[in-house]
């Protein structure tokens, strides 16, 4: 019974303490409110609260910013792969376009050169394109996409913007075989442009010519330009053929040993012109040494 009474008294005391505490706090709050509303002054207590709340606010703001940034990055990451793919495709397209432009520019330059040559020479010509090359190591010839239907005939001269390329060797209605001037079986009448000395230019099979039958007494120097002589009516006079690159005087023999570097770059041959001029063999002149082709 005594225990029950003691417990009851303790409970009452606790409730009383709580009421007193709440009352105290409410009173303090009321006083603070009344004093604040009355004076409207940002006092030390406000400053204290402000200082206390600031770090939390700062922390939360930074956290929110971090979360927002992370979210943005993540969403960005999801789209970045697609963006990357799109950019790669765009880059590929740009590269392709650039390559095509470069190719078109090169073709344009080459064709302009050919056109200039065609216009200045005033000779009947037909433009042709190389479609095949002789795979043999013993012969030097190419196949072009023009034949007898285009007016091409055996023996006609083939040139490009830089000079003499060769001669038509065999013809079919739509295609022709061109014997290159560097072929060992090719030979033509030429002149040294400066001294007007005449000789026979022969192919060596490599990227050089050999100039034969020029007497040791003649004045030939390295760097002299070699042009077509125009005898025989195959190559018009003055077509560039090459430049003298070596002159050797041997003790024996009557003639000089002359090496000529071709004016034409045989490594990059593409577009050609066939001079559609009837071949009239002239007696006593050196004719190009074309073997019979069974045409």
């Amino acid at each position: 019974m005594r225990k029950k009474g003691t417990r009851k008294a303790k409970g009452k005391f606790r409730a009383l303490r709580l009421v007193v505490l709440i009352g105290f706090l409410l009173t303090m709050a009321l006083i603070f409110l009344v004093s604040t509303l009355g004076s409207q002054k940002f006092g030390p207590l406000h400053e204290l609260l402000f200082e206390a709340a600031g770090p939390f606010q700062n922390f939360l703001a930074k956290g929110a910013e971090g979360i927002r940034s992370f979210k943005q990055d993540y969403v960005g990451l999801l789209t970045v792969r697609q963006e990357n793919k799109r950019l790669k495709a765009e880059l590929q397209e740009c590269r392709k376009l650039s390559f095509r432009s470069r190719e078109a520019l090169a073709t344009n330059t080459r064709l302009r050169k050919l056109l200039d040559f065609k216009e200045t020479s005033r000779l009947p010509m037909v433009a042709a394109r190389i479609i095949g090359k002789d795979p043999s190591v013993w012969f030097r010839s190419v196949i072009i996409d023009r034949g007898s239907r285009d007016g091409v005939a055996k023996g006609m001269a083939v040139i490009n913007g830089d000079g003499v390329v060769g001669q038509i060797y065999a013809v079919s209605p739509n295609f022709s075989k061109v014997l290159l001037a560097v072929a060992p079986s090719s030979a033509m009448d030429v002149l040294i442009q400066k001294s007007r000395v005449r000789g026979i230019l022969k192919g060596t099979g490599a990227l050089t010519y050999r100039l034969d039958y020029i007497l040791k007494t003649m004045d030939v120097k390295e760097g002299d330009h070699v042009v077509s002589a125009g005898y025989g009516g195959i190559f018009p006079t003055g077509l560039p053929i090459g430049v003298v690159s070596k002159v050797r005087k041997k003790r024996r023999g009557m003639f000089l040993e002359i090496e000529v570097t071709p004016a034409v770059d045989f490594l990059t041959l593409e577009d050609l012109l066939v001079i559609e001029q009837e071949v009239v063999p002239v007696q006593g002149d050196h004719k190009p040494l074309l073997p019979s082709s069974g045409q």
Partner: protein, 178 residues
């Protein structure tokens, strides 16, 4: 079908050799695919079918390359019969020996044809160069293995398809017992 198929392959090889594999007109590094086809037919197939395939191809090659008509038929036939003779008479049936043999025969046949033409017509051909010809023989030997595999595959697939069309269907098992 076999003849037509191999003729088309030969034609394709000739076109490849005269276009893509010839970088410029004085290029020496183009492999002579035609000789690999000659060797394959000599090693693996009968005389009649091989000649029916090779002769038109040799004539096409003659038109596209060289200045001496008849040079390629001579090269094709000489190469074919030499390789056939060697494969029949010598123990070179193993593919280990066959491939180097193609290179050696290519070199030998080329040299014989070159000498013959040089004797007949002077100043027509580029002077003989051993380094260049050895390179060509090496290229022939190098390309021989993959092309032989391809030719085998092609030959098998043609034969399978053709024999499937020709033979009557044979039903398995005893259908009267079921």
């Amino acid at each position: 079908m076999f003849v037509l198929g191999f003729f088309c392959i030969g034609l394709l090889l000739i076109i490849l050799q005269t276009t893509i594999f010839m970088v410029h007109p004085v290029w020496s590094g183009a492999p002579d695919f035609y000789f690999i086809l000659v060797a394959y037919l000599a090693y693996r197939h009968d005389l009649l079918r091989s000649l029916i395939i090779l002769l038109p191809l040799a004539m096409i090659f003659d038109v596209l390359s060289g200045l001496v008509l008849g040079m390629y038929p001579a090269l094709f036939l000489l190469g074919f019969f030499t390789l056939k003779f060697l494969s029949d008479r010598l123990p070179v049936r193993e593919s280990l020996y066959q491939i180097p043999m193609i290179g050696v025969v290519y070199l030998l046949v080329s040299w014989i044809v070159y000498v013959c033409i040089s004797l007949a017509v002077s100043d027509l051909m580029v002077p003989w160069s051993w380094p260049v010809m050895l390179l060509r023989a090496l290229l022939v030997a190098l390309f021989a293995f993959p092309l032989f595999r391809f030719f085998d595959f092609f030959s098998r697939s043609i034969e399978t398809r053709f024999s499937g069309m020709k033979r009557p269907r044979v039903q398995g098992g005893n259908r009267y017992r079921e």
